[in-house]
């Protein structure tokens, strides 16, 4: 596929109100562990069910590792969001690494350019309510996920 700017956006929806925003660096493996703990704490604060917390933390863990391993490091910004009816957690992973040349391939179950299981992107997409990814070769990758409390 040709190189270009790729965007996979969620189906749509109202831009939610942000209650608080925190930005966390992802430059070491310890940061990936910290990301899991931070997302867990916010998910508890947002009164997510245990299963939803677990799904959100797992998705964040996958994306944080990608940011570190493939993006060469970056950050996560995480908020509690509120759309008037429900609260949720939004996490945005940003790096300025090599980007993803073929988004369809990267989002395919089991496809990896490294030695992973190739389930990080495709799997975390299934675990959350909204999944948006933007990447262009040479200009890094941004992945945004949202999970709502039920």
């Amino acid at each position: 596929m040709s190189a270009g700017r790729w965007t996979v956006a969620p189906a749509g929806g109202v831009e939610p109100t942000v209650e608080r925003t925190e930005r966390h660096p992802i430059v070491t493996e310890a940061d990936v562990v910290r990301v899991r703990q931070i997302v867990r704490n916010l998910a508890v604060t947002a009164k997510m069910s245990l299963v939803d917390q677990t799904k959100m933390v797992t998705a964040a863990s996958e994306l944080a590792r990608n940011t570190l391993v493939y993006g060469g490091g970056g950050s996560m910004t995480v908020d509690i969001v509120d759309n008037g009816r429900r609260r949720g957690i939004r996490a945005v992973f940003v790096d300025s690494g090599p980007g993803i040349p073929d988004m369809d391939l990267a989002l395919t179950d089991g496809w990896t350019s490294g030695s992973g299981l190739g389930l990080g992107l495709s799997g975390s997409r299934r675990l959350v309510d909204d999944f948006a990814i933007e990447s262009s070769p040479g200009a890094g990758t941004t992945v945004r996920i949202v999970k709502w409390s039920r």
């Binding site: 493996e29 933390v57 863990s61 389930l119």
Partner: protein
């Protein structure tokens, strides 16, 4: 770097993962376990993940690799104590951990390894009831084996 402790009980190796695993620590456990299987001639590996709040694809791959490695080294691996929320998440993630045997509790895991052990035992008197309650299971390492070896004796394996 820290290591995850590996306990030996008879011809089983026991691992209880009590920390939120960094990737390097998970890889180190893989290496340590294969070394210990060879060094001790262990026939079973029991990994307790009841303290793990999540299992992502990296940890899942580690568990699959340990199961595959141990099988090559003639030992069976059973993962015990997976939390229900973790199981639900793994299915949605698409991670099925092929080749990894699981049991709900430590006792069930021991029984599972014991059941396999039974099939290989040549003599009935060498049998140990691993379906016993936890007190008796604890006895396996200490009480039932005064010489420090498990009642699941070596020699019973040679057949």
């Amino acid at each position: 770097m820290d290591r995850i402790p590996i306990l030996k009980m008879g011809n089983l190796l026991l691992v209880s993962i009590q920390v939120d695993l960094q990737d390097q620590l998970a890889l180190a456990l893989q290496d340590d376990l294969s070394e210990r299987i060879v060094a001790t001639g262990a026939r079973g590996v029991l990994i307790d993940i009841s303290a793990l709040e999540i299992v992502d694809s990296f940890i899942g791959r580690m568990l699959s690799t340990i199961a595959a490695l141990s099988r090559l080294l003639d030992a069976e691996t059973v993962v015990v104590g997976m939390r229900p929320a973790v199981a639900i998440t793994l299915v949605e993630l698409g991670l099925y951990m092929p080749g990894v045997r699981t049991a709900l509790t430590l006792e069930h895991g021991l029984a599972l390894l014991g059941a396999e052990v039974r099939v290989r035992l040549p003599e009935d008197e060498a049998l140990v009831d691993l379906d016993a309650d936890s007190a008796e299971v604890t006895d396996l390492g200490a009480g039932a084996a005064p010489n420090g070896r498990s009642a699941l004796t070596e020699g019973a394996w040679s057949g």
